[in-house]
Amino acid sequence: MPSDVSLNLIELGHFCAYLAFAVAIVQMTAPIIARITHRPALAEISVNASVLVFLLTTIGALTIVYSFVTSNFSVRYVAENSNLQLPLFYKITALWGGHEGSLYLWTWILTLFNMAIGLHGRQRYPDRLPTILAVHGCLIVGFFGLVLFLSSPFTRLFPVPLNGNDLDPLLQDPGMAIHPPMLYLGYVGFSVPYAFAMAALLTKWRSEFWIGHVRRWALIAWGFLTAGIILGAWWSYYVLGWGGYWGWDPVENASFMPWLVGTALIHSITVQERRQMLHAWNIFLVITTFALSLLGTFLVRSGILSSVHAFAISPAQGTYILIFMMIVLVVSFAIFLVKGRYQQAREEWISPLSRESLFIWNNVVFTAAATCVLLGTLYPLAIEAMTSQRISVGPPYFNLVMVPIFLVMLVLMGVGPLVPWRKANFNKLRGRLIVPVILGLVMGIAMRLWFGPVRWTGPVAVALVSFVATTIIASFVRAVRLRRQQQAKREGVFAAAWSTFSGNRRLYGGMVVHMGILVIALGLTGSGLFQESKLVMMAPGNIVQVAGYRLRFDGVMHFHHANYFATQGRLRLLNDGALLTPERRVFSGNQMGISRPSINSNPLRDVYAVIGTSHDGKWAVHVYVNPLVNFLWFGGLIVLCGVGLSLSYRFRTARSRVDAGAPWSAPVK
């Protein structure tokens, strides 16, 4: 039993959370009061407040973690999501294992970004920083309201239970430990561009001053969101044991929608940077991305969907998030409609055959894709709410609708980077396209001949992936050759390649991201079209053959672990003698049973086995052979490296240091 001090340490955290709430209110209101009373110095308070809010919220989070580690079951949240047998690692990650803690993590990360803006902006954009922090402060106040008054992780429980319930067994996995923080860093990361966009609208901030910062913040958020989504798929694949990684579950869609709009944003923001146009559209995209992040939080946290992720059903919290989301949406779009056109585009004309035009088509495709996912996710809910009927929209629908959209994205991905800014020379473009197109066609036809009849998407995807890969490599080779021609001193090929790459890491980082997406596309094609599976009842000694892989069932073994009881099936892969050990685990805390698959993996294929229940001495064994699944994880890593490379390159942005000290000066006429 914990001592008195440690038993009640949680109250210190609770108190700090209330303080953080109060400081966030100060951060939100100080710039407004400064404006009304014409005392600009007052606005400086919000910069200090941004650091203080984070520190106070961190103390709150640490006391919750401390309560988990010391098994302080007088805290209701700890009692519900932990027990004495839970390993230490999962006691710590249980902070975000339940509803209240997840929201607290959301808020904590929000305050982290809040402090990051405060520290980042002090030197770079001090004149607009108070406005940005005021907007961000509103978001923090909104979420703290939820965390403190409706979904508090600090609530105490008396009498204190001797042991807690258990952490959801599905969450007791390393993948699940890092997936939520990554995803939230992505979701919440988009609050920074949002605060910038609102501040830009409110203070008529010339876009040259903020566009570079917004691009970087958006790219950071996009990188985290990508990592979060891929880790979610990875967890689903390695833990849930259904042989797949993406089920078009509403919760997955909730993370995919901001990703799609965020992707549109990081592309079209370049048009604004280069040609000083599309300001209003980019602000619209920023607001929409953040709104979709809020929608995702609402869908997951309100319990409106019942799926593995939505582990809480609480109407009050759902209503709160819904109202908060509506207020954010209405206020943001109202301000956008009134002030959105504050800055005239410097140029208006776009050639139909130019980089900027292709970026606009990219935006059409990505916006349409996001809207399709939104419709498929919300339409069943709307139908259920309005009529008494219920319909389902599941993977067969989304695959049919989204796969062609993905293929169109690949086409644009190949053509876009080849087309120069302003106006392309058609003949030159044709010359650059001819080899990649032929190579793509050859690869597509070869695939069709090699594999025989497959769905049309297979050869088309392979053709497009080869096409895009060739365009990227050819462009790079052209750039290196050009560099070597222009240099007076002959440079070695590798030295030239390296200096070309590192000289424009922003561009080539983006190309690395494209390459990663191509690898993912191959993985999706392989595992989506060529998965084979068998579900059989096996007695010890039986052999099952799936897609050329023979597995012998050698019976089961039983294991007692700290907090669960495992029945382990032993399957020998006869092709190379490897042992697969899928488990069925029953957790002592809540007697919940889950299947844990076992995977024999090599770069080209996974042999994936799941064991079910037994009947008459035979065990239900589900064996999948999933080709190219590792391409997804590897492609995801390449994407993240690309984002890192792109961010490592500092694009010189116009700084507003001239205006320092005069907070409301120099609005755009």
């Binding site: 042989g243 019942s306 799926s307 916006t367 389902s392 599941g394």
Partner: protein, 155 residues
């Protein structure tokens, strides 16, 4: 005697099974399994919500798979089986909405969306700035003369 006969049946069934268990046997999936999975992938597991009948390990999903298998064995077509489930559980069971009063929206909307968004983008790209920019006033005769004078001065 009645009990004895009742016992005999399972024993007779079990003996060949035991014999098979002793030697390595290749277990084959039922021939109908491919079609069974294809149907099950289109149906929602009613208790798990996020999963299809093919993927779910829930009891009801297992029962539904067995029912599909029985119906396939009885010679019913895939369409007949799908209709049976829709009749029993409603449209909710279908993971791919049908093109009917409620579902058609989902099939038409993506196409309409693409057309509309493409139209907006096309309109934006076709826009000419000429109409928006103020037209510069024509030069007065004196100005023309000054320009010509300046040009003459150039070497």
């Amino acid at each position: 005697m009645r009990h004895g006969r009742a016992l005999l049946v399972p024993v007779l069934v079990l003996i060949p099974l035991l014999a098979f268990a002793a030697a390595p046997t290749v277990v084959h999936e039922n021939v109908l399994r491919k079609r069974e999975i294809a149907i099950a992938q289109q149906l929602r597991c009613t208790v798990c919500q996020g999963e299809s009948v093919a993927e779910s390990n829930a009891g009801i999903a297992r029962d539904m798979r067995r029912l599909i298998r029985q119906k396939l064995a009885a010679g019913e077509s895939s369409q007949q089986i799908m209709n049976y489930f829709v009749h029993r559980y409603g449209d909710f069971i279908l993971l791919k909405p049908r093109f009917d009063a409620l579902g058609s929206f989902l099939w038409i909307a993506p196409i309409v969306l693409f057309v509309v968004l493409s139209g907006v983008a096309y309109g934006f790209l076709r826009r000419r700035p000429a109409s928006k920019r103020p037209v510069a006033p024509a030069l007065s005769p004196e100005d023309v003369a000054r320009v010509q004078a300046a040009r003459r001065d150039e070497p």
